[in-house]
Symmetry: C2
Subunit: 354 residues, 2 copies
């Protein structure tokens, strides 16, 4: 197969982890006989520095022409504590999601047998956890207007807004995921307070009869924030709005014992995007110590979701499991073994595939 | 001292747990020589059934005339899955908070030595956890206007809004709490996306010089959702907006191993309110099985925060610890011991105090 992949390394550790994913993707291409071309583009703080725009038009063009986008991370502390900064790296991420129509962020949570003891949670609570969040990604309070300040600057406001259509397309994807899995769908909202949440609940309720094989549960976001930690095995597929999804998927990442391993896919249009859920981790940037596995596993999701190539995806997750079992891992998760460098892990994984 | 206490049992298990707290408060009054008068009023679904209004004027009057309010729980499932219900029990809770000016919800998180093994988290991660959330309670997306639907009902919206004044008063309380504790204040926001969060961050930054002894950290809500579970001991005092506080304090309650034990205080005006953080737990209502300890500990907070009576507060927390140590507890946390009924726990605690 011919594959055009856009690489958006972004900020902080982004470039380093993307580099390792590229090694692995190339190895997969070689092994399975695919012709893979990569095209790199800037985004985030890196793009502000280069062009003044965190998601330049040229980058958007590169994404549109690609079959899939591999994205690293975004964010730079120099913008975080300046509440008056005019342009922010994150705006690039949001613009990219919106312009590419990536309305669904798919974030699986599962445990790795060889890492389970690293979780702050007890083994018996989390062993066998296997759920997936579908987080709405192009709506809600992330984009709603009006947003800003009053003239004197003494009052600030944001708008959370959802249309039935936006909810329906995400919910349908949720029902379909559930049909292919354990057939349980949890709609997470705050319908006892928010008008938007009531529209979510109503819309999902209306869709229920079309998917009679799926059991649907409705839970409040505060209850889920608790139960996710108490009984993670109780969940299968969860759908929720943008902001709740941001909070809950990061919370869920704790279960596995390492955020450095959790991949994600953003779906919704022809171009699909794949990224680790961890951030730009600026303290580690350039040190060759960042864990590349989440990005490598995001590349596995790419083969599965963008190209429907399950064997290729499995080849990657197999070597990741091997690296965990053999202790060829970075310092954040190394234990008995001597920690490997980011680049060494990438090299090792690529070799194992070939 | 003379104390007038308003009792708002509310819905579900509310009446049962309030009843036990009253037994304990009476015992404290007797032992320490206080004259305590109670006045009961309806709120929530109970109030809708009785008057059509979830927070009737008569109830508000009872609260205004009291020195402190002991509140049970609110919520009834018959309203939850009806997105079109016109009146909801929760509106009573929100109206009460707003009308009484209770802008700060104080929710401590700590562990109980005899319960620590019940936590889904590993002992070494949580032992010694001692932080407190100050959740803004009368602003944000809970109250912002406009909120509702477009005419066709196909679009819903909510408004998150904060003024500098609202943020300042909560933040000052946070700085003062930190000064009396370990002098670390964490401001939780989503300043990389929300205009309101940027006003939060800016306002807290401006206050910093007035409290030079307090170290201030700024963290994104998604990061805190993770770190709260990973490193709960890292936190001291956390301040945040209404919605983030709702989610994060419920999440935090998991740490202690039982939500049935976590109390809270709502401060901000002359009348202070005290309530367990658990909900109305309708499945258990009327069965005499609900855990009354969170409400009893809320009564302890009442003695401390509403009347500045630390010995009385300590007398209560001491007997609660005794009940845990001796296994005089309800079925949710009973282990070796035979579970006691809700009412038996209340009786036992009151006896121990006398
Ligand atoms: C960087 C930030 C804007 C972003 C978000 O909130 O969506 C990140 O936290 C994520 O989850 O991808
Ligand atoms: C019942 C609900 C409206 C309420 C809230 O969201 O504030 C509850 O969850 C709480 O935290 O007291």
């Amino acid at each position: 197969m011919e594959m055009n992949i856009a690489l958006l390394p972004g900020d902080g550790i982004g470039p380093e982890v993307i580099e390792q994913a590229v090694k692995v993707v190339k190895a997969v291409g070689k092994k399975f006989g695919h012709t893979i071309t990569f095209k790199e583009a800037v985004v985030g703080a890196a793009a502000i520095d280069a062009t003044g725009n965190p998601y330049p038009d040229e980058t958007h063009e590169v994404c549109l022409q690609a079959d899939a986008v591999l994205f690293g991370a975004i964010g730079d502390p120099k913008y975080d504590n300046d509440p008056k900064a005019k342009v922010r790296p994150e705006q690039g991420l949001l613009a990219m999601r919106k312009k590419l129509g990536l309305f669904s962020n798919v974030r699986p949570t599962f445990t790795f047998p060889s890492l389970i003891h690293k979780s702050p949670l007890k083994k018996e609570r989390i062993e066998g956890t296997d759920f997936v969040f579908l987080r709405e990604l192009t709506g809600g309070i992330y984009f709603g207007e009006p947003r800003g300040r009053n003239e004197q600057g003494t009052k600030a406001f944001d708008t959370n807004v959802y249309t039935k259509e936006e909810i329906t397309r995400l919910a349908r994807m949720g029902f379909e995921f559930a049909q292919k899995r354990r057939k349980l769908l949890t709609c997470v909202d705050k319908a006892n307070v928010l008008a938007t949440s009531r529209l979510w609940r109503e819309t999902v309720q209306e869709l229920e009869p079309e998917y009679p094989d799926v059991k649907v549960e409705y839970e409040f976001v505060d209850a889920v924030a608790m139960r996710l930690i108490q009984w993670p095995k109780a969940y299968d597929v969860l759908i929720t709005e943008n902001l709740f999804g941001d909070i809950l998927t990061d919370e869920a990442s704790v279960i596995s014992g390492s955020m450095g391993l959790m991949p994600s896919a953003s779906l919704g249009s022809d171009v699909k995007l794949f990224e680790p859920i961890h951030g730009s981790y600026p303290q580690a940037a350039g040190k060759d110590i960042a864990n590349p596995l989440a990005t490598v596993l995001s590349a596995a999701m790419m083969f599965e979701y963008a190209f429907d190539l399950k064997d290729e995806a499995k080849a990657i997750s197999d070597v990741v499991n091997l690296s965990l079992a053999e202790g060829v891992v970075t310092e954040d998760i190394a234990e008995e073994s001597k920690p490997s460098k980011t680049s060494e892990v990438g090299d090792w994984l690529a070799e194992q595939i070939l």
